[in-house]
């Protein structure tokens, strides 16, 4: 079965970011396909490589990056939501005249059409938010 996962809340702030990760991981380990994980609203904050969580806590960003790497998972950060919140890759930094970028490995920035496509292509779409 093909799942689409939508994450609307930021890391640490809301457990939705954790539940989305655990659901995605469990689905992949059971042999399901995850068509895409789409990060929207504050969910885009899952995709910054600049976090340094306490050493006795989970590293939410790294966890996503590794899951993406391991399973060739498509981790898409919404460009419009990312611009409002300051999540940028090298292209976006150049385009918007920023002197730095902060996107984490395995994530990519793209448009909202990718969310609609996930709704169309997936057998089940799950939204994790507040």
């Amino acid at each position: 079965m093909k799942f689409g996962v939508v994450v609307l809340e930021g890391p640490y702030t809301h457990e939705a970011a954790d539940t989305a990760y655990q659901f995605t991981k469990a689905a992949l380990e059971k042999g399901h396909e995850v068509f895409r994980v789409f990060f929207y609203h504050d969910g885009v904050n899952n995709g910054t490589r600049l976090t340094t969580p306490p050493q006795d806590d989970r590293n939410i960003v790294t966890r996503w990056s590794e899951l993406g790497e391991e399973h060739g998972l498509d981790l898409v950060v919404c460009v419009a939501a990312a611009q409002r919140r300051g999540i940028v890759d090298a292209d976006e930094a150049k385009r918007n005249g920023k002197d730095a970028d902060n996107i984490a490995p395995s994530f990519r920035i793209s448009g909202l059409g990718q969310l609609i496509e996930a709704g169309i292509q997936s057998d089940r779409l799950l939204v994790f938010g507040d």
Binding site: V6, H41, A80, A81, L112, G113, I116, I120, V127
Partner: protein, 136 residues
């Protein structure tokens, strides 16, 4: 895409302005209109406040996105289901909402209302019919 058309419903349960959910939800609907799907929107609970008329953000400095709802008809998004019970609990009636319309291409482009008042049980039935529920 060769897939059959899916029934998409955007479920709006949150008030505008207090949080960004309503505004960013509307952005999804506009982008989604470019895809050839069967789209509708549900406004229930505090989501009905998204449609009040006379919104004027001048003093808060936040962006007034209410005019965008008026553009939905031009994007062929013309099934806006508003739950009666939610309106009543909030002291509102249809007259308190923006008059949203679309031009019906199947009926000589006559202008028709996009907002459809439905009861809670009718809305439940409509939600059951959907293929995809986008919750905001």
């Amino acid at each position: 895409m060769s897939e059959a058309i899916k029934k998409f419903m955007y479920v709006n349960r949150k008030a505008p302005y207090g949080t960004v959910y309503a505004l960013e939800s509307l952005e999804v609907v506009l982008i989604g209109a470019a895809f050839d799907q069967d789209v509708s929107m549900a406004f229930m609970d505090d989501g009905v406040f998204q449609l009040t008329k006379g919104q004027d953000t001048g003093d808060t400095g936040v962006k007034n996105f209410s005019p965008t709802y008026k553009a939905l008809g031009d994007y062929d998004v013309n099934k806006l289901y508003v739950e009666k019970e939610s309106l009543e609990e909030r002291g509102l009636s249809l007259d308190d909402l923006m008059p949203l319309t679309y031009e019906d291409e199947d009926d000589d482009w006559n202008e028709k209302p996009s907002i459809k008042l439905v009861s809670r049980s009718e809305l439940t039935d409509l939600m059951e019919e959907q293929d995809v529920l986008m919750n905001f």
